[in-house]
Symmetry: C2
Subunit: 436 residues, 2 copies
């Protein structure tokens, strides 16, 4: 039995990226958050763990293995460091609010739920809420601890998007230039004549499916190319992320509509790295991570030839994610420094074209748009967010002076499974914090 057969037989409900707008189609009812707690499951206990309690490269993406794996990615895959750069840790002032757990709110269908219940409903591994810059709430569940990086999945995209926007603001990167100017290897691909701006806003017209239930969907080969899942013994596909990108074909018209496709983020990273002469990880360390006063080094998953997976490979501690969110809430300023230029944050907050977003099927995000790889609510609402599959988020609500960082391991690989609970919970908390 090859590793792949093994994989194919498994009820893989998820993968590393994407389907951020898709509906929640759980094939069967999975274990709930408490029953799937890695301690309860007994994953990876003892030396060595029992055979049926081992989490390996061959099974780590299967729920409930994911509840352990997402907090231990570096033990399963090769990774590269995003260093904290030896700086003093920036203080996050504490103002805990024990009353938050009991906060009651209502779902769209009228169901009532408390904040504490919502955390279980969404398989939360960790959540931290900053209000006016102070930590009002911080909890860890399952395998996650304060000092342990967790897989951020597509939250990664907002980092490469921010870095790209910073380079555009500096004139190092021309957003109107076509991708092929920076990456000639992509000239004959569907990306070749797309503009950098179209890639940044995911309005490229390309043939690429992230429908996990379809075994022929491109997301599968992309994941095998990136060495993120096992390859069959007779594998003859692409053996690196960038080799795959060169094979992506055009479909439709660039610029017409937003379509959430992870490959755009890696095309953007390729462009950014060529324009800056610096790797994504080094750029992130130099421009952002090394300035935040981060508590922990972050890290990024790499493929077989060292390509850093910008579509979803970043891992970081929850507190450090909250620090970045707080920087974004404060128009780029944090830890005594202007880390991200004000104009770049303003550009993100202005958002993309909601009309181009409306057709993408993001039923939980009415009136939102996508800009520089951030999800942006209407101007009236004002929120913006980094979002990763299985419930990862950095959620910034400037009007409520609130930032939420969350890691999770929801069994369903679509934020359609989290949003119906999470977004009302966040909105209720925003109201609650500001009413008191």
């Amino acid at each position: 039995m090859t590793r792949t057969t093994h994989l194919q037989r498994a009820s893989l409900t998820l993968l590393l990226t994407g389907l951020l707008c898709g509906p929640a189609n759980a094939a069967s009812t999975p274990l709930d958050a408490k029953a799937s707690d890695p301690q309860v499951m007994g994953w990876m206990q003892g030396f060595p763990p029992a055979a049926d309690k081992q989490i390996t490269f061959s099974n780590y993406l299967r729920f409930p293995h994911t509840r352990w794996a997402f907090s231990h990615i570096r033990e399963l895959l090769p990774t590269t460091t995003v260093g904290r750069a030896g700086t003093a840790v920036s203080v996050l002032p504490q103002a805990p609010r024990e009353d938050i757990d009991a906060l009651e709110f209502q779902l769209a269908d009228g169901t009532k739920m408390t904040w504490a219940q919502s955390l279980n409903a969404n398989y939360t591994d960790g959540i931290l809420v900053l209000h006016r810059g102070k930590v009002v709430y911080e909890r860890y569940f399952g395998a996650l601890q304060a000092d342990r990086p967790h897989m951020a999945f597509s939250v990664t995209k907002s980092f490469i998007g921010t870095l790209a926007a910073m380079l555009v603001a500096e004139g190092v990167l021309d957003a109107q230039a076509s991708v092929a100017i920076y990456v000639p290897e992509l000239a004959d691909s569907g990306f070749g004549n797309a503009s950098v701006r179209q890639v940044m806003d995911m309005t490229t017209g390309i043939r690429y499916s992230e429908t996990y239930s379809d075994p022929s969907a491109e997301i599968w080969e992309y994941s095998r190319a990136g060495n993120l899942i096992p390859r069959p013994a007779d594998y003859s596909g692409a053996t690196s992320l960038y080799a795959f990108l060169q094979k992506v074909q055009a479909e439709g018209q660039h610029g017409d509509a937003f379509a959430y496709k992870t490959v755009n983020s890696d095309v953007l990273a390729w462009v950014v790295q060529r324009a800056s002469g610096t790797s994504f990880a080094d750029l992130l360390e130099q421009r952002i991570w090394g300035k935040l006063g981060a508590e922990q080094d972050a890290y990024i998953v790499v493929d077989q030839v060292g390509t850093q997976f910008a579509g979803g490979g970043m891992n970081a501690s929850l507190r450090d994610m909250a620090r970045f969110g707080e920087a974004m809430r404060n128009n780029g300023r944090f830890n005594g420094q202007q880390i991200v230029p004000e104009a770049v944050v303003a550009d993100i907050r202005t958002g993309g074209d909601p009309a181009k977003f409306a057709g993408a099927g993001c039923a939980t995000l009415p009136g939102w748009s996508y800009r520089n790889m951030w999800w942006v609510a209407s101007e009236e609402q004002g929120m913006f967010a980094a979002r990763g599959i299985h419930g990862q988020t950095i959620y910034v609500d400037p009007k409520a002076e609130m930032v939420i960082a969350r890691f999770a391991s929801n069994p369903v690989a679509a934020n359609g499974a989290n949003d119906p609970v999470s977004l009302p919970a966040y909105a209720a908390l925003a109201n609650y914090l500001n009413a008191r």
Copy 2:
């Protein structure tokens, strides 16, 4: 072409561990240190690197690829963190001595050489000398930088040996008990009736060869078992380090003689983890790394089921290795704390039985012995050292009040290749620093 064929065709002169006493048998003259500098070679430059400049899991252990790979192990293999535990970095006072480079010394054959020349002769990637606790010399070459962990290879063994000795001192671990008491799975192996002490001092009688030139040597299967080198498509051997250990057979009598065999270190780690209920990495973080005021997290290579490779998988920054050496020079005290008990350091410094060591073929180490996985010179000389293949070392010379930490990537997988230059260089430096 499978990965293995690829590997077998290559002139693999090295592997991850061992042969610490063997002679230097370089098959041909390799590139010298300057010609093999990773920058000069152009390894892993650009996005992506050119095909012939890529370093991957399939080729990383080939010289000169090693000169890049040993400073980038986490990008090639799964690893686990040994955290610095958020402590303040301990200050290493500076007292640079620019005159050291010109220090001239003599090899056994009468050849004269300067200190600076000796660094190139041994393919030094980084070296730091502490004298009376101050940094008198610190240099980085090739791919290594101050903030970058480097593969420590068998220097790792001295960490598990020290931790084991600490647990023995606390009564948590009984050195006289047989291995099978702690690890019943090893009862039927060659290790089963060996005492923990015999494992700690590598005087077990087992059938295990680390002769790299012999394709049937056990070191090859051990490396495949640990997922440290590619496995052939039809591989049917052990798929974890501990699965392999259970297959090791007895040969000769336990306790008779020192014989350097890496498997002892992983048996010891297995015993230590069972006795303490804590993983090697966590124990190292709790007992040592988190107390040193380390600058960087360290990390340890893990196998397919998460087993931490105690025989040679630790990676750390040079300065942090020097901090640990300085703690050992000061009888376990550093950074305002007694990190390793005085009695444990004293036990290491007393050494093992030189008569049992004499027959092991360590021609460069006359009068030395092996204790708690440290190499120990005669009482008159007083030095003790952690030593890793390709020239890694933490070299402690208490009489000279000197500690040397060195990382290197010598193409020859035997310290017989380094010692004829390194040991006279270290001795000359000890004299020089104390004469002035």
